[in-house]
Every structure is written in C-alpha cells, then in structure tokens.
C-alpha cells in the first residue's frame, strides 16, 4: 500500500521540466552579431583611414565622412541633394509600381495582350537599360523627366514580371472554389488572384526598388544639377572623398531601410508564408 502510493505520487508529482526562459542575448543573438559586425567594420574603416591609407585622394576615415555630411547639411546642400534624388525616385518608382502591376495583371488575364507584349518585355528586360540613360537625357533634357524615365524603365520589369507570375500562379483550386460560390470574373480577380499574388508582387517591388536606386545614380551621372548621384560625381571630380562616401552611405542606407520596410510588409501581407517550424 505504501509502496503503491509512493509510485502514484511520483507519477503525478513528476511535472515536466519547466522550459528554460531564454536570456536577452540568446533571443537577440542574430541581431547582436550583425550589430557587432557593423561596429567592427566601421572601426576598421576609421583606423585604416587614419593610419594605413593616409592619402586623402584615395580614402578617408569614417569620421571625416560624417564631418563632411554635417558640413554639407549646414550649408543646405545635402538637403537639396537628398530632396532631389528622393523626388526623382518617388516619381519614377511610383510610376513603375503602378504601371508594372497594372500591365502585369492585364497580361496575366488577357492572353492576347500577353502574346503581343511578351517579346518587348523580354527584349527590354534583357537590355542593360541603364545604357539608355544618355539617350533619355537627350530626349527629355536635363530636368527631372529624364531621371524619372530612367528609374521607371529600370525598375518596372521585375514588378511587371512578378505580378504576371504571381497572378498566373494562383492555386486553381482556389479559383474553382470561388467560381463554385458564383463569383464573377472581376470578383475572382479582386478577391482571389490579387491577394494570392500580393506577396510575390511585393517581392517584385523589392527587386525593382534596388534597381531603381541604381537608376537614380546612373541618371544623375549623365547630367544633373543636383541629387545624390550628382554629389558623388562632382565629389569624385573634385577629389572630395569624404563627400563622395557621404553620398554613397546615404544611398546605401535608403536602400536598406526601404528594402526592410517592404520585407516587413511581405510578412504582414502573407503571414502563412512565414509559419514558424515546429521544434
């Protein structure tokens, strides 16, 4: 009797070991490593600039880059460059997003349109479109239009093609389910195809964004009066390495921030694609 009761007690009382709460460093391990990496590289940059490559025509320490950026800011130049490039980019990329999604969607649902446009999309996508930048400067002069046109042309194709494949890739079972409930073609498009393709479209936007940033610089290299690309070109011609790096760093930062923002958007739009794997 006593023996049995001991057994029962053990059976009931032997609770599962409580899961150990993971500490702050364990939970944020990846982020801490990434941050550490950035700090180390920036420190190396500073040290190399100060003690190894001391010729200011080739390299400058990070602190000089920040000082130069602060200087440009104080004179109101940096704001002008950022504003100019941002406006060009916003217009060019915005137009590419609208036109790319609209055209891609239209090509996905209208077979004939797709057949007509396919060769041109393939042709222009394969062409290094930045090579057309000088031509655009000739056509649209030095104003903002030529930059917008270059950015539009380089960033539209990933958006268009992703929209096309995204919509075409809609699970046909879902389309059939919608049809079965009596959904009309427009409803199937809006309520099934578009939401199903949305994460793929956002991926296209992310790819287009990266190309668009390249487009900003290239477009401004071929003739501009302001902008980050212009700042980089002008600084290189005047051997102002610090200002050159400032322009590059700002562009890189803009690229990282906007790309991360779109990644976050992808996660929000399609949570089912990021299901945590059971451990």
């Amino acid at each position: 009797m006593t023996v049995r009761s001991v057994e029962v007690e053990l059976g009931v009382g032997a609770a599962l070991p409580r899961a150990r709460r993971r500490g702050f460093f364990e939970r944020h391990q990846s982020r801490i490593r990434a941050l550490g990496s950035i700090v180390v590289v920036f420190a190396l940059w500073e040290l190399i600039g100060r003690f190894v490559i001391t010729n200011r025509l080739f390299f400058v320490p990070l602190s000089s880059v920040f000082a130069s950026a602060g200087d440009l800011w104080a004179r109101g130049e940096l704001q002008l460059h950022v504003r100019t490039s941002f406006l060009e980019f916003a217009l060019g990329f915005g137009a590419a997003a609208l036109a790319g999604i609209a055209l891609g969607a239209a090509m996905a649902v209208r077979r004939a349109l797709r057949d007509y446009l396919d060769p041109w999309v393939a042709f222009l996508y394969a062409t290094p479109t930045v090579a057309l930048a000088p031509l655009f400067i000739l056509w649209f002069k030095l104003g903002i239009e030529s930059k917008v046109a270059v950015i539009l042309l380089v960033s539209i194709f990933p958006i268009l093609l992703n929209t096309l494949t995204g919509i075409e890739g809609t699970d046909r079972h879902l389309i059939e389910a919608a049809r079965s409930f009596g959904a009309r073609p427009m409803q199937i498009f809006a309520k099934v195809m578009l939401p199903s393709a949305l994460p793929v479209i956002v991926t296209g936007l992310r790819l287009g964004l990266a190309r668009g940033l390249v487009g900003v610089v290239v477009a401004e290299l071929f003739g501009a009066k302001a902008g980050l690309g212009y700042l980089i070109l002008y600084s290189a011609q005047t051997f102002d390495m610090a200002a050159l790096f400032a322009g590059v760093l700002i562009l890189a930062l803009a690229g990282v921030v906007s790309s991360e923002a779109l990644k976050a958007l992808e996660r929000r739009l399609a949570p089912w694609r990021f299901v945590e794997v059971e451990r």
Binding site: D171, H173, L174, E176, A177, A178, R179, S180, F181, G182, A183, R184, Q187, K191, V192, P195, S196, L198, L269, A270, P271, W272, V275
Partner: protein, 262 residues
C-alpha cells in the same frame, strides 16, 4: 419521395492537347432524393470528381443532362455548394472571412449574416477560432471550416469531393461522425464522393458504385443500417457484408489499375 437531383444518361469527354479524346463518364443515370445522403465510390480515375463538377455546374455534360428540381443545371448556383479537398481555403482570410466568402460574392453580407456565420462556426465546433488563419489550424479544423463555408450560403444540395481524404485515419472517423451529426440537424441533400468504401457505407442512405474509365454506374445499393449510426456500426456483420459487396464490384478494376491481378 421526389428526386431533388437527377442525372440522365450523362456522358463527359475531354479533348487533350494532342487532340485525343478521353472519355471520363458514359451514360451515368441515377437520382438523389430530397434530404437523402448518397455517396459515389469508385477506383481512382473513374470520373468521380468530374461527376461532382458537372452537378455543381463548373463543367457541362457532353451528352445527357443534369437536373435539379427538374430543371437543367446551367452553372454554379446558390442552391448548391461544393466542399473541396483541404487546400481550397483562402490562406489570407481568417476562418470567419473564409466562411463568409460565399455570401460576400453573392452580395448577401450583413450584420445578420455575420452573426449567423459565428453561430455556424460554433455549431461545427470552431467557436473561438473566428480570427485564426487556415495555416494555424489542424487538418480536421480546416475541413470543418471548409464545411462551414459551404453551409453558410445555406444550399439545398451539399456536394462533397473527398473532403476527408487527406486526414489521418482517426481524425477521418471523427469527422465522419461529425458530418452525420450536422447532416442530421440541417437535413441537406448530400452527394458525397469518396474512394473509401467504408466511409461511403457509414454515411449514406444509398451508395452508387462507379466502374473505371469511362465511369459507368456499376451498382446502386441501399444501406439499410438504422440511424443514427454510431462509429461502432462499422464493426457489425451487416456493415461488413455491404463493404464486401461493393469491394467485389470494383476489386478487378482496382487490381487492374495497380497491376496486381487476382
């Protein structure tokens, strides 16, 4: 009893890309009475799913006609709802929004509809999961959602396409009993497609046996097991005899299809 649904000499053939003609169904004739539960069983490739799509109106017959209340079916309609296999839930919609899809596209969405959908979810055992997404649910719960989505439009005829095929054996048994509970409460006319003989017999008033391609009606048997049926009815001799009869009818074809002669 009146025939709710009638199939009169229904044949269906498809033209393949290479120009060959594949005959899926040939001269299929049977009917389903109002409030009746009828299953169609057959080996894989016998045209069961084609049959269901013809009744739903997603496909049109090549010959013959499908009648609902005596009128030919012209396309998908509010009077029928199709319950698909697992993967037909919209992953970007919550359980509640999936269930409301049919009413939404039919322009019947309102406060009353939302309330009724909430009630329906509790009825199929999904109370508290309204805001969950399909990927957060188990297979059985996804299939309950699927069923609720079809019931939400309040159809007269429920068409079910192997709804439990991808569930594990135990979950499938529970879902079969659940389906009978729901059918008993709502008294819909049900046409149920499956390749599982015991599932067909357990659920149905009558079982239609389809032969292999082109699918033809090989046998129709009445299941005279008393209702309500508990799951252990599957282990009675009467149940075994019915399974035996259906199995004998399709055994040769199943053996042929997998290349294991008797």
């Amino acid at each position: 009893m009146t025939a709710k649904l009638e199939l009169r000499g229904v044949s269906k053939w498809f033209e393949t890309r290479s120009g060959d003609v594949v005959e899926a169904l040939r001269g299929v004739t049977f009917d389903v009475h109002a409030g009746e539960f009828v299953s169609v069983v057959g080996a894989s490739g016998c045209g069961k799913t084609t049959l269901l799509r013809l009744v739903d109106g997603l496909l049109a017959p090549s010959r013959g006609e499908v009648l609902l209340d005596g009128r030919p079916i012209a396309g998908p309609g509010l009077d029928r709802a199709l319950v698909f296999q697992l993967d037909a839930l919209f992953p970007w919609r919550t359980v509640l929004d999936n269930v409301l899809f049919g009413l939404e596209v039919q322009g019947r969405l309102g406060e009353e509809a939302r309330r009724a959908a909430g009630e329906l979810l509790r009825f199929v055992g999904l109370g508290g999961f309204e805001r969950a997404y399909p990927h957060e649910l188990s297979g059985g719960m996804r299939q309950r959602t699927n069923l609720a989505r079809a019931l939400a439009v309040d159809p007269e005829v429920l068409l079910m396409d192997e709804p439990f095929a991808s569930l594990d054996a135990q979950t499938r048994e529970i879902m079969q009993a659940e389906l009978l509970r729901i059918w008993n409460a709502r008294r819909k006319t049900v046409l149920f497609i499956t390749h599982q003989i015991d599932e067909a017999i357990y659920l149905s008033d009558r079982v239609v046996v389809l032969t292999r391609r082109p699918g033809q009606v090989g046998d129709v048997l009445a299941v005279d097991l008393p209702r309500p049926r508990r799951l252990d009815v599957k282990r009675t001799p009467a149940f075994g005899a019915l399974v035996d009869r259906v199995w004998k009818r399709i055994e040769t074809e199943v053996r042929e299809s997998v290349g294991v002669p008797a």
